[in-house]
């Protein structure tokens, strides 16, 4: 399937955001894996200092160094990097200014600490700067990475995070910082970037997805696809769902069915079982409504199933495969 078409051909930076709790780290990891198919090379980046990637891939905590964490389907490499703002700043200063002793002096007087933890926004500038560097890095005849996938801050902060360099450009009208900020903004607003939003079929995550799409669009940032996570396969026929929602399922028929299945439970438990189905019907109805809201956003949408035992490495490959089949990668 090498070279086959997919929806994000030409995108070099995939930014994955989503409301907290929607599983954006899992989706980012699955996407990095999917994009590493057929001998490609991807870099999965985390910026929140949580070491979530290491946990997902069962590897020890990542240092500030790119490490291979997995092999993509059909061969290919997934590298991972946890960006530490302080190291990123020292690296940046060394690379552009060859500071040496002065760099150590900066650290001694607290300037590095100031810049990375206290000066608001500076942290985001450094993080986006490092991502920019990784996207554009060259090696031998081509780019080091075919794609970079960023496990980004949640929807509530994503526009501010990605727009931080425009903010800097507003403060620094000239000078080297200005040049760097402009270059980063040019990448982030170009078709080489896509900001994907992860959601669940629940009201608040869908609402935040809609808000994020509107905010990103207003800020000139390229919105990518919507990934609907933890989708449950439909279990009941439409008519049964409707009856279950009204509490109108035939109790005697259910008792007879349980009997035929060789499942013997108390009479009270039968009612509880019916109540569980009623809840399910209610949720399916809600999900349908949220689906319509998502559809109205007009973005390519990808579904990932709920893995009831939780996500392990095997689960990640399965999700990556799902993304490939839906042509997200």
């Amino acid at each position: 399937m090498a070279g086959r078409d997919y929806d994000w051909e030409g995108v070099r930076l995939h930014v994955v955001t989503g409301k907290g709790g929607t599983g954006k780290t899992t989706v980012a990891a699955a996407l990095a894996l999917a994009l590493a198919r057929d001998g490609r090379r991807t870099l999965l980046v985390e910026v929140e200092g949580r070491q979530s990637i290491a946990q997902l891939f069962d590897s020890p905590p990542l240092p500030y160094e790119e490490r291979k964490v997995a092999v993509g389907p059909g061969g290919g490499d997934v590298f991972a990097l946890a960006i530490d703002p302080e190291d990123a700043l020292l690296e940046y200063l060394e690379m552009f200014y060859r500071l040496g002793r002065a760099g150590r002096a900066l650290r001694r007087v607290g300037a590095i600490d100031f810049a990375t933890t206290i000066a608001p926004g500076m942290r985001d500038v450094l993080l986006t700067g490092k991502i920019y560097e990784a996207v554009n890095r060259r090696q031998d005849r081509g780019r080091t990475y075919d794609a970079v996938v960023l496990d980004a801050p949640p929807t509530g902060r994503i526009t501010r995070f990605l727009g931080v360099n425009a903010e800097v450009a507003g403060l620094a009208r000239v000078g080297p910082i200005r040049g760097q900020a402009d270059a980063i903004m040019a990448l982030l607003t170009s078709p080489q970037t896509a900001v994907h939003v992860v959601t669940l079929l629940e009201e608040m995550p869908v609402q935040e997805t809609a808000d994020a799409v509107a905010e990103l669009t207003a800020a000139g940032l390229p919105v990518g696809g919507v990934v609907v996570n933890a989708v449950r396969a439909p279990q009941l026929k439409q008519a049964d769902l409707a009856a279950a929602g009204k509490g109108a399922l035939d109790r005697d028929a259910v008792v007879a069915g349980l009997d035929a299945a060789g499942v013997r439970i108390r009479a009270g438990a039968v009612d509880s079982l019916l109540a569980e189905v009623g809840e399910h019907a209610e949720r399916v109805a809600l999900e349908k409504r949220e689906r319509r809201t998502l559809k109205a956003l007009g973005r390519p949408t990808y579904d990932l199933p709920l893995l009831s035992v939780g996500v392990d490495l095997g689960g990640l490959y399965r999700l990556a495969d799902d993304l490939c089949r839906q042509r997200m990668a």
Binding site: K19, G20, G21, G49, S52, Q55, L93, Y97, A102, G103, A105, L106, V109, G110, A111, P120, G121, R123, P153, P154, T155, G156, R157, R160, E167, L171, A172, R173, G175, I177, E203, M204, Q207, E208, D211, Q235, L236, K237, L249, V254, A256, G257, L258, A260, A261, G262, G268, A269, D271, S272, L273, E276, V277, E279, H280, E282, R283, L286, S308, V309
Partner: protein
Amino acid sequence: MASPTLDLDRVIASRSTRIVVCCGAGGVGKTTTAAALGLRAAEQGRSVVVLTIDPARRLAQSMGLTELDNTPRRVAGVDETAGGSLDAMMLDMKRTFDEVVIAHSTPERARAIMENPFYQSLSSSFAGTQEYMAMEKLGQLRAQDRWDLIVVDTPPSRSALDFLDAPKRLGSFLDGRFIRILMGGAKTGGRAYLKVLGAGLGAVTSVLTRVLGAQVLKDLQAFIAALDTMFGGFRERADSTYQLLQASGTSFVVVATPERDALREASYFVERLGEERMPLSGLVLNRVHTTGVGALSAARAAAGAETLQESREHPLVASLLRLHAERMRMIEREQSLRGRFTAAHPKVPVVDVPAQPGDVHDLAGLRVIGAALAGT
């Protein structure tokens, strides 16, 4: 060993509880928990204000409020027969910052600060300011003494710990040499200071000029010089808010869902609160799946579904059994994650809030959550 049950009714009923802080990872239901606790306390007779910080205005949605700004507003529809009341507000960080500036400087100085481009981005758009301002607002509400209980929802931070670290960071920053170096360049007499600090400083200033550009450095210095007079005030307030968090009238409620990441974050938080000697009430475990069909395991339900599938009879019951099996597997997973937490923190009281089929967006829904929080 079973962990003790968290009795939140006791926490909110106690008149000595003055502040409840709801903290935890993003997306675990902090805002809803804060609103539900506030509502329950109000209906039990306390005069409550709920402070939320989330820009998604989730509290507004769940409390039927269309407008939440920097002033607490009375929530309508609350049962006030027990003599309590509920106000709610959403943090406007820019306005809170402005208020601090105005309160701590002369009108001319305040204007100079507010016109500086650094102030404008610092106060409105940069990440990190939110945590400082949330603490500031909490301090203000407490100082007003208009309510006998304040329930705080913490900012959607990178990490739940940011909220705790914000005031301390501000304090250490204000004591830092770096800020004095920056100020040294902007004030007369600063040069002598630079000399005292000794070697490396010339290098620092020259590096800053090279990296930031002379103009940015000048703006930054002007900004810091203008803020100079306010620093004492900032510092004092940061310290007193931190002490407020350690006081016995404060109660931390850590919120999580039965998921790996959320519980890991909750663990970190519980440990940090212990280290900082901050009073922890316990853990609220949100969205826990339960079943009334306890005796029917996932394996047995799945086997029954297979039997029916083979005989091609009762397709509806086969689906019911599959749904139940799915639910039981989820319950098993949740219980094992819960068990991991309670094994590591056996003394931390826990209360489970059952998963609701739909989202909460009205007072009735909040009452249901409130009752679950109280374990009733």
